[in-house]
C-alpha cells in the first residue's frame, strides 16, 4: 500500500489524479486469478499507437525549427480566427497566428518541463530511494521521515506559490517540479528496491564479496530500471498536466513563447466565437497525457514479476 499511496500523492499533485497504477499495486494478492490479471504478455496495437504518438510529438518538438512552419509568434500576418484551410491546417488564433505552428512549438515547453523534471526526480529521488531501501536501518528511517513530511505538502498549491514568486521561466518551473517529484519517486523506487534487496541473486553477489556499490549498480539497478521507467512515464504525464495548469494561469513560461496551457487559456476567452482555438492545444495535451499514461500503465503490467510464473 505504501508505494501506491506515494503514487497517489504524486498524482494528487496534478489536477487530475492518474490512478491507473494506484488501482492495483503490483503483487496485490486479491487480483490473482481474476481474468484481468490474465493480460497476455503482449503489448498490443494500442500500446504501439500510443508509443508512436509520444515518439512523433518528441520528434516534432525537436525538429520544429526546421519544419516548414509559420512563425508561431508573428502577429498580424494572417486574418484572425480563420478556420482550417490549406494554408493554415488548424486555422489561426485571435491575433492571426498559425495554430499548427503554435501547437507544435508549444509542445517544446510541455515536453522539456515534463522529461527534465522527472529526469531530475529519478536521479535524486531514485538514488535516495535505492540507498534507503538497500541499506535500511537508521538512514532509511531518516529518509522516510523526510519523505513523509515532503509528501504532506499539498504539491500543487505549493508549486503555484513558489513559481509565482521565484520566477516564471523554463528553468524555475522545471526545477520546482523536479524537487516536488523527488519524494513520491523515492517511495516507489524504495519499495521496488526492497523487493530485490533480499533475493537470492543479491545474496549470492554479496557472498562472492561484491561491495555495496557493485551490488547496487550491477544487481539491483537493472531490476529496478524497468519499473522505474514505466512509472516515470506516468510521472511525466503528471508533470505535463501540472505545467499546463501553471501556464494556463499565466505562471509558467511567459508569452510570446507558445505553451499549451497558455493557448488553452487564450482560446477560453473566445470559446463562443472560435472554439477551435482552444480545441487544438487541448487535444494535443489530452492525447499526449493519455498516451504517456497508457504506455506507462502497459509497461508496468508488462514488466511486473509474476510470482506464480517463477
Amino acid at each position: 500500500m505504501r508505494d501506491s499511496q506515494a503514487e497517489s500523492q504524486l498524482t494528487g499533485a496534478a489536477v487530475v489524479a492518474t490512478a491507473p497504477v494506484v488501482a492495483a499495486p503490483p503483487g496485490v494478492n486479491g487480483a490473482a486469478g481474476v481474468p484481468s490479471a490474465y493480460v497476455a504478455r503482449r503489448l498490443g496495437p494500442a500500446f504501439w499507437v500510443s508509443a508512436g504518438w509520444v515518439g512523433l510529438i518528441i520528434l516534432l518538438a525537436l525538429t520544429a525549427g526546421f519544419l516548414p512552419l509559420q512563425d508561431p509568434t508573428a502577429i498580424g500576418d494572417n486574418a484572425p480566427r480563420l478556420g482550417p484551410t490549406a494554408g493554415h491546417l488548424l486555422g489561426t488564433d485571435e491575433l492571426g497566428r498559425d495554430l499548427l505552428a503554435r501547437v507544435i512549438f508549444g509542445s517544446r515547453t510541455s515536453l522539456t518541463v515534463g522529461f527534465f523534471a522527472i529526469a531530475f526526480g529519478i536521479l535524486v529521488g531514485g538514488g535516495l530511494g535505492m540507498i534507503g531501501g538497500y541499506f535500511g536501518g537508521r538512514l532509511d528511517t531518516l529518509l522516510n521521515g523526510f519523505g513523509t513530511i515532503l509528501l504532506a505538502f499539498p504539491a500543487l498549491i505549493f508549486l503555484l506559490t513558489v513559481v509565482a514568486f521565484l520566477g516564471q521561466n523554463l528553468f524555475d518551473v522545471t526545477f520546482t517540479l523536479g524537487i516536488l517529484s523527488i519524494a513520491p519517486i523515492a517511495r516507489v523506487i524504495r519499495a521496488n528496491t526492497i523487493i530485490y534487496a533480499n533475493r537470492e541473486f543479491v545474496l549470492a553477489a554479496r557472498a562472492l564479496g561484491a561491495r555495496s556499490h557493485r551490488v547496487l549498480l550491477r544487481e539491483i539497478v537493472p531490476n529496478v530500471v524497468p519499473t522505474a521507467f514505466a512509472f516515470s512515464l506516468v510521472a511525466v504525464a503528471v508533470v505535463i498536466v501540472a505545467e499546463g495548469a501553471l501556464s494556463f494561469l499565466g505562471l509558467s513560461v511567459q508569452p510570446p513563447t507558445p505553451t499549451w496551457g497558455g493557448m488553452i487559456a487564450e482560446g477560453g476567452q473566445v470559446l463562443a466565437q472560435a472554439p477551435l482555438v482552444a480545441l487544438w492545444p487541448s487535444l494535443a495535451m489530452f492525447i499526449t497525457v493519455l498516451a504517456l499514461n497508457f504506455v506507462g500503465d502497459r509497461l508496468q503490467t508488462y514488466f511486473e514479476v509474476r510470482e506464480g510464473g517463477l
Partner: protein
C-alpha cells in the same frame, strides 16, 4: 490507543514542519511586498517605516514565532494590500470551497459506486470495458481542459448553466446549485474515475472470497449479496483514496475555482499571488496544508475502525 497517540504525535510534528517550511520558504522568495505596496520610486525612509509598521524588519524565524503565536490565538493577521483581516476573508470563503467539495464528492460517489459494483460483477465484459476505458480517458483529461469543455458544451452551446459567477446559498438556493453545477461536475468526474477503478478492483477480490460463495449457495439474490455482503469489505481502499483525494482537492480545487470564478479559498490564493500579497498566500498555503495533513490523519484512524482485521491487529500491539 497507542496507535492513535503515535499518529497524533506524528501529526503534530508534520504540522510544525509544514508550517515552518511554508512560512520560511515563502518569506525567502524574491519579490518584496514593500516595493509592491509603495511602488519602485519609494524613498528608503518610507520603505524602512513601512517595514517596521508591518514587522518585516525582524528576522524571518522571529516573525515565524510571532505569526505562529498569533495563529494559535486565532489571529491570522491582515492583508498587506487591502488590510482586510485574513481570518474574516477565510470565514467567508471556506464554506464556498467546502460546499464545492461536498457536491463534487456526491457526484463522484453517485456515479462510481453503481458503476464500480456492476463492472466488478462481470469483469472484462461490455460494461466493465466501457467504464474502465472511460475512467482511463477521464484520468488523462487535465481539470482545466475538462472545465473548458463543459463550459463550451453547457454554457456556450446550450446555455444551461452559467459559465462563471457564484450565487450565495442564502440568496437563492436553486441559483446556488446552478452556479456550482459545472465546477462540481468538473471536480467530481476526476474523482469519479479514481473511485470507480479502486472500488472495482477491490470488489473483484471480495467477490472471490468464500463467504460470497456461501451466500450464493444459500440462494440469496445477487443484488442483496452485492450490497449487503460485498460492498462494505470492498470500500476500505476507497475510503483511503477518497480521503487523500479530498485532502488534495482542498488545494487542487483552486484552478477550477479560478476558471468558474467561484469565490473560495483557491480563488483567494490565486488572486493574492497575482497581487503579491505574501501574508494571505502564506496563511492559505498553511491552511490547505493543515487540512490535507489532518484529513490524512483522520482517514488513517477511520480506516482502523472500519476494517475489523486492522483494528484487532493494531489494538493487539
Amino acid at each position: 490507543m497507542r496507535f492513535v497517540a503515535a499518529r497524533l504525535a506524528q501529526l503534530v510534528i508534520v504540522l510544525i514542519a509544514v508550517s515552518a517550511v511554508s512560512f520560511l520558504l515563502l518569506n525567502r522568495l524574491p519579490g518584496n511586498p514593500i516595493i509592491t505596496l509603495l511602488g519602485p520610486a519609494a524613498t528608503p525612509e518610507a520603505v524602512a517605516q513601512l517595514s517596521r509598521q508591518l514587522g518585516l524588519d525582524k528576522p524571518a524565524w522571529l516573525r515565524y514565532f510571532i505569526w505562529m503565536g498569533n495563529l494559535l490565538h486565532g489571529d491570522l493577521g491582515s492583508s498587506y494590500v487591502n488590510h482586510q483581516s485574513v481570518g474574516t476573508a477565510l470565514k467567508q470563503r471556506l464554506p464556498v470551497t467546502l460546499e464545492l467539495l461536498v457536491l463534487s464528492q456526491i457526484i463522484a460517489l453517485a456515479i462510481s459506486l453503481p458503476l464500480g459494483v456492476l463492472s466488478a460483477l462481470r469483469p472484462n465484459r461490455f460494461l466493465d470495458r466501457l467504464s474502465s476505458g472511460a475512467a482511463f480517458g477521464l484520468l488523462s483529461i487535465p481539470g482545466f481542459i475538462l472545465a473548458e469543455l463543459l463550459v463550451y458544451l453547457f454554457a456556450v452551446h446550450y446555455n444551461m448553466f452559467p459559465a462563471t459567477g457564484y450565487v450565495h446559498l442564502t440568496d437563492d438556493p436553486l441559483g446556488n446549485l446552478r452556479s456550482l453545477t459545472l465546477p462540481s461536475v468538473t471536480l467530481g468526474l476526476g474523482s469519479m474515475a479514481v473511485y470507480m477503478r479502486v472500488l472495482r478492483s477491490d470488489m473483484i477480490a471480495t467477490l472471490q472470497q468464500d463467504f460470497i460463495t456461501m451466500a450464493r449457495s444459500k440462494g440469496l439474490p445477487t443484488w442483496w449479496i452485492l450490497l449487503r455482503h460485498a460492498l462494505r469489505p470492498s470500500t476500505f481502499t476507497l475510503v483511503t483514496v477518497g480521503g487523500l483525494n479530498v485532502g488534495a482537492l482542498l488545494g487542487g480545487a483552486f484552478i477550477v475555482e479560478y476558471i468558474f470564478q467561484v469565490p473560495g479559498v483557491g480563488l483567494l490564493t490565486i488572486n493574492s499571488i497575482y497581487a503579491r500579497d505574501y501574508l494571505v498566500v502564506t496563511d492559505t498555503t498553511v491552511l490547505v496544508a493543515t487540512g490535507f495533513v489532518v484529513v490524512n490523519f483522520l482517514v488513517d484512524i477511520l480506516y482502523t475502525f472500519l476494517d475489523p482485521r486492522v483494528r484487532s491487529a493494531r489494538f493487539a500491539s
